[in-house]
């Protein structure tokens, strides 16, 4: 039987639930010559800020067991280049969902960037990354306080008239459900979880942190059970759709995330190990569905 991989995300039809996660697939364009992008359910673009940023000094990458740390630090050409150059170029060659990932260091910056993204015709979903430090709030990330998270959500919700807004949550919190509910109540159309865990490695020979930035965001296969637990908790506590993310490496992981409650599933660090991870996972889905007697992926969402 033909397997139905499609899912519906805030009235958007995705041909399948697999979406490369922000920051792990550039602006899509970097990989356009390497694969048929149109097999992808969606693409979450590299995080963009108001101004262009070089990001952190190198080394920005460190390794760990079953995972990696990154401290790229939001290198990006700025929101104007995103909406005027990157998205139009990608839209020309890609027909699936384009997700703009927006970061900011103040509520005002989120507002401005999201308004510009909302006005950009090529963008289908706005994903607001609230893991950045809040420069006006003492440096603690917006995503670690329910109040700050709600404030960002309400602010961007106000300026986004055309597009669904997903808030991307940080896992570095005591109570993910509290933050998720605060975002839902403040008007979020959906949630993406999770972002990276704050981690660190030391180069014991040089007696220095491996990363120039000392700490970095830890992700990859290693974090899957924690991410899955958070998706499960949030999907059962909230009524808006969840994009599950964190440690997904295979079609089986996609199915597991969806059973836990995810409507779509993002693949992050695995793309760095294997640039063809997303198309390969999509290719494996039908046979995994066959084995598990699943005809349509829609029907398994949140069934556990």
């Amino acid at each position: 039987m033909v397997k139905d991989l499609s899912v519906e995300l805030c009235e958007l039809q995705l041909k399948n639930p697999v979406v490369p996660a922000s920051g792990t697939f550039g602006f899509g364009l970097e990989l356009a010559d390497e694969m048929d992008l149109n097999v992808l359910g969606g693409i979450s673009l590299k995080g963009s800020t108001r101004e262009a940023r070089y990001g952190n000094p190198t080394p920005r990458i460190a390794e760990a067991s079953c995972g990696m740390l990154n401290a790229v630090g939001l290198q990006n050409p700025g929101i104007d280049v995103l909406v005027n150059e990157k998205v139009p170029a990608l839209r020309k060659i890609y027909s699936g969902a384009i997700i703009a990932n927006i970061s900011g260091f103040s509520v005002e910056e989120y507002r401005e960037c999201c308004a510009k993204a909302d006005a950009c015709p090529g963008i289908d979903i706005i994903e607001v990354n609230i893991s950045c430090p809040n420069v006006h709030g003492g440096g603690l990330a917006f995503g670690t306080s329910a109040q700050a998270a709600a404030q960002v959500t309400a602010t961007v919700r106000e300026v986004c008239h055309n597009k669904p807004v997903f808030i991307k949550l940080s896992p570095n919190v005591t109570d993910i459900v509290e933050i998720a509910r605060a975002c839902e109540d403040a008007g979020a159309d959906g949630l993406t979880l999770v972002n990276t865990f704050l981690g660190m490695r030391i180069d014991i020979a040089r007696r220095k942190p491996v990363l120039a930035n000392t700490t970095g965001g830890f992700s990859g296969a290693a974090i899957f059970p924690i991410a899955l637990r958070m998706v499960y908790q949030v999907a059962h506590a909230c009524h808006i759709p969840v994009m599950g993310c964190g440690g997904v490496t295979s079609a089986r992981d996609v199915v597991e995330m969806m059973m836990a409650g995810a409507t779509a599933v993002q693949v992050g660090a695995e793309n760095l190990r294997n640039p063809f991870a997303c198309p390969e996972i999509i290719g494996q889905l039908p046979s995994v569905m066959e084995e598990l007697h699943i005809d349509s992926l829609k029907e398994i969402i949140g069934t556990v």
């Binding site: 550039g26 190198t58 640039p275």
Partner: protein, 242 residues
């Protein structure tokens, strides 16, 4: 970029802590370096293409950390996933008639492939290579057979000029219109400080994807931020901020 499996045909100690890895599989490969998946390690490892022909790919690597130590233990016949076709390499065409190649340690590896290309284009090639000690020297016969002039420097003076590769450069009558360098950053900085340009240098940086889309390897250049894996690893001397 291609992701393909190669089989270890040879994995042999050829100098102190230095192995020659011959992989059989699709070849010759494009690109300056390959990104190798060492079983049990999360990230791939980048290694310069030292040589490649029909059905084979040769790398030289030093056992410096856990991944390369694990690699050194893999027996012949092991299958490895390799990304090929990565990186912007040396521009052999930039040299008009005479090239100067300056290497330090395993920086010699990509310069060997370059030397072959330059000779195939009928250019004069001078190669100067520096190593810490005699037992670390690699590719000596290969360079000697290929190059018009070849000189060595060792830190302990056991072979060739005693000192840095720059000391060997100073001791030579150099005739070139373009230079190419690859080796430790301090060495390349000294080389670029000493030599008249134009020239280019091949850099190293910790990599994520190795293929230009994670922005893990960004370098500030005079042209703005550039990805070592995609916009490099070879950069024009004048673009580099040391």
């Amino acid at each position: 970029m291609k992701k393909q499996n190669y089989t270890i045909a040879q994995n042999r100690l050829v100098a102190a802590d230095t192995y020659k890895l011959v992989l059989s599989g699709p070849g010759p490969v494009n690109g300056e370096f390959v990104h190798l998946d060492i079983p049990g390690y999360y990230l791939r490892r980048p290694f310069s293409v030292c040589d490649s022909c029909e059905g084979s790919l040769t790398l030289l690597y030093k056992t410096v950390g856990e991944g390369t130590k694990a690699l050194a233990k893999l027996p012949e016949g092991t299958s490895l996933s390799v990304l090929t076709g990565l990186g912007k390499g040396f521009d052999a065409k930039a040299c008009k008639a005479g090239a100067l190649l300056v290497g330090g340690g395993l920086g010699a590896a990509p310069l060997y492939l370059l030397a072959k290309e330059l000779k195939a284009q009928g250019k004069r090639v001078t190669a100067v290579m520096g190593f810490n000690k005699a037992d670390e020297i690699v590719l000596r016969e290969e360079f000697e057979a290929l190059c018009d002039t070849f000189a060595l420097a060792t830190l302990d003076g056991s072979v060739g000029t005693k000192g840095f590769v720059t000391d060997a450069l100073k001791a030579l009558q150099l005739e070139y219109d373009y230079f190419y360098t690859c080796g430790p950053m301090v060495m390349m900085k000294a080389v670029c400080g000493l030599l008249e340009g134009p020239g280019e240098a091949s850099l190293e940086e910790r990599m994520g994807c190795g293929a230009g889309f994670c922005y893990g390897c960004s370098l500030q250049t005079t042209q703005g931020p550039r990805r070592v894996c995609k916009d490099g690893p070879v950069f024009k001397m004048e673009d580099l901020i040391w």
